[in-house]
């Protein structure tokens, strides 16, 4: 039998990782929901954000400044990326956007290697101190990171629900043509949404950096995990993505009690495949649309 305290520690770990993953995945699902774009470069935006954050924190010493600079610069980069590579593909087969963003992912990975070097970069934990969790000293920062991720997602929700531009975004998601007829500049809404998604990816990169170092190959891992979350939660469904992120992270955390962490990934792969086969609209959708 597994000791009860180990299970509880893994539950906390799963919740923390789940919130950071939810932040990545909500950007991805937002982009998919509105643009039908499957962003294969999303994890690489997380990675770039982590690097920009690490460099900024190292030179200014402030975690907040690092977070803001990373989010802003990656958002601007996202705008440029959307205008140059994704906008020409609007109206074409969604599969072509997979190809284009896959190319972007390759370029970004090698760019990061060139710009930031092959060694991993870390950020010192901005919130010092630990508390006792059974046999472990659990760092407060991990709890803080989860709460910050939750706060950003909450802000996004409020923005979508009550903001004027949030209304534009929701309208465009529901009916692109009608939104356009109502005078909403749909192409710019697409650009804006991509920028928001990119900024959220960058923010999660910075939040993640103190937990484990940033490396230029971590992007594809994040992309795959975010995809799993988005599919399990239901494509384009924000609330579902958050639940799914926590669900998947808990699954992996519990699985890593039994097998090695690299094998624990398989558990989430299996969860993904089962979901796609039996609940293709997502696990956390109350009324499957038929």
């Amino acid at each position: 039998m597994l000791p009860f305290d180990q299970i509880l520690v893994q539950t906390v770990n799963g919740l923390v990782n789940g919130m950071v993953l939810a932040l990545v995945a909500s950007g991805l699902t937002l982009i998919f929901g509105i643009m039908d774009v499957v962003n294969f470069a999303h994890g690489d935006l997380v990675m770039l954000g982590g690097f920009v954050g690490a460099v900024t924190v190292a030179s200014t010493g402030s975690f907040t400044v690092g977070l803001l600079v990373a989010a802003l610069s990656i958002a601007i980069f996202g705008v440029l990326l959307q205008i140059t590579t994704l906008r020409p593909l609007i109206g074409r087969d969604p599969l072509t956007t997979i190809l284009a963003t896959f190319g972007v992912s390759l370029v970004l990975q090698k760019y990061a290697l060139w710009q930031f070097g092959p060694s991993a970069m870390g950020i010192p934990q901005p919130i010092p101190g630990q508390f006792n969790l059974f046999y472990l000293q659990y760092p407060w920062y991990r709890v803080g990171a989860a709460m910050m991720a939750g706060a950003i997602i909450g802000a996004l929700y409020l923005f979508l629900k009550y903001g004027k531009y949030g209304l534009w975004i929701r309208a465009t998601t529901q009916d692109r043509v009608m939104a356009s007829a109502m005078g909403i500049p749909v192409p710019w809404v697409h650009t804006g949404v991509f920028a928001i998604g990119a900024a959220m990816a960058a923010a999660s990169g910075v939040l993640f950096a103190p937990l484990a170092a940033v490396t230029q190959t971590m992007g594809s891992d994040f992309t795959l995990r975010a995809f799993i979350v988005v599919v399990v939660g239901g494509m384009g469904n924000l609330g579902g993505s958050i639940l799914a992120a926590i669900f998947i992270s808990l699954l992996e955390a519990y699985a890593s009690l039994v097998v090695s962490p690299s094998q624990a990934v398989i558990v989430s792969f299996v969860a993904l495949i089962l979901t796609m086969l039996f609940r293709p609209t997502g696990l956390f959708v109350s009324t499957p649309t038929r």
């Binding site: 090698k110 599919v231 796609m276």
Partner: protein, 318 residues
């Protein structure tokens, strides 16, 4: 241009290209001879993926798993039997790829578009993790090393491969595979695959069992990818988990898009283009060659969706 004269044009081109490829190793220096053989093998892998991308209309981001299982299947045969047997290696390579293809085909073909692409990627990652961690059988990160089998028919003759004769052997296998796949894609079966690509609900409405056709096309594609893997194992004499990694699958998709999907020749052109460019660029840029190559790929997706072959076709028809 009538159908018959265009068919004659095709066979003339085909003969000339095959003859050129057959004669080339006699004149090329050692490095480029090896390089040409590799292009043929990667081209075969890319062509196998073209069955899915170009004909059935499904993008596979997991072709590395069939290729890798082909390599590991051949490796198992070459390590288990002494003296190493070429035909057994190819057979086990095909079996390995077919085994995993059945599995992937059964699950992945129930899904469409991006879901198919993601699920093939996930399947290849699952097998990558298995191969990477199952050190006792696969050698883990270090891979497996083995010796090259001779070209032999038991009891009759046995030659050791020289670089030339290996090239001719690979060329023969690739040409036969190409002709087979060409025949398959032009058969009524291939027409059904193309009609699935064009309009799946209508194909179903006409009465074709779409799922069954998809499964068979994934199986076929996996088999030819496994064949490419077995050839690669025979040429390079080692197996490594890197060949199962998703980067290989991605490169295969790049070969297809740059060369031109749905043409069968395009993937070879794409592989040659990509590998030559990589060779040229990596001399100055080392591993950063993917930056210019990635940009070329993105530009090809946006501006030249039919690839080099499609572009040339359009130029010739004008």
């Amino acid at each position: 241009m009538s159908a018959r004269s265009s068919a004659r044009g095709f066979w003339i081109c085909f003969t000339v290209v095959v003859l050129l490829l057959a004669v080339a190793p006699l004149f090329l220096p050692e490095f480029w001879r090896r390089f040409l053989t590799e292009i043929l093998i990667w081209g075969l892998l890319a062509m196998s993926s073209d069955i899915l991308i170009g004909y059935t209309g499904m993008i596979s981001f997991g072709h590395s798993v069939f290729f890798g299982l082909g390599i590991y299947g051949a490796a198992t045969a070459l390590l288990a039997v002494s003296p190493p047997n070429l035909w057994l290696a190819i057979l086990l390579g095909l079996l390995g790829a077919a085994g995993v293809a059945v599995f992937v085909a059964y699950f992945a073909t129930r899904l469409r578009d991006i879901y198919f692409a993601i699920s093939t990627l996930v399947f290849s990652q699952i097998f990558y993790v298995i191969i990477f961690t199952w050190t006792a059988v696969t050698g883990g990160e270090n891979g497996l090393y083995f010796s090259q089998p001779p070209f032999a028919i038991p009891g009759l003759f046995s030659f050791r491969f020289s670089p030339q004769s290996l090239h001719w052997f690979v060329l023969a296998v690739v040409v036969i595979s190409y002709l087979l796949v060409r025949r398959i894609t032009q058969s009524p079966f291939g027409m059904v695959l193309q009609s699935i690509r064009e309009n799946e609900p209508r194909t179903r409405a006409i009465g074709y069992h779409v799922e069954r056709y998809k499964i068979v096309s994934v199986m076929l594609s996996g088999l030819f990818a496994g064949l490419a893997g077995a050839l690669y194992a025979i040429q390079n004499k080692f197996a490594a988990p890197d060949f199962v990694f998703s980067l290989v699958s991605g490169e295969v998709v790049i070969y297809n898009v740059i060369g031109g999907v749905g043409t069968l020749v395009g993937p070879f052109v794409g592989a040659a283009f990509f590998l030559l460019l990589r060779e040229g660029l990596s001399r100055f840029w080392s591993e950063y060659y993917l930056i210019p190559l990635g940009i070329i790929f993105i530009a090809a997706v946006i501006f030249m969706p039919q690839g080099i072959m499609g572009f040339m076709k359009r130029q010739l028809n004008q």
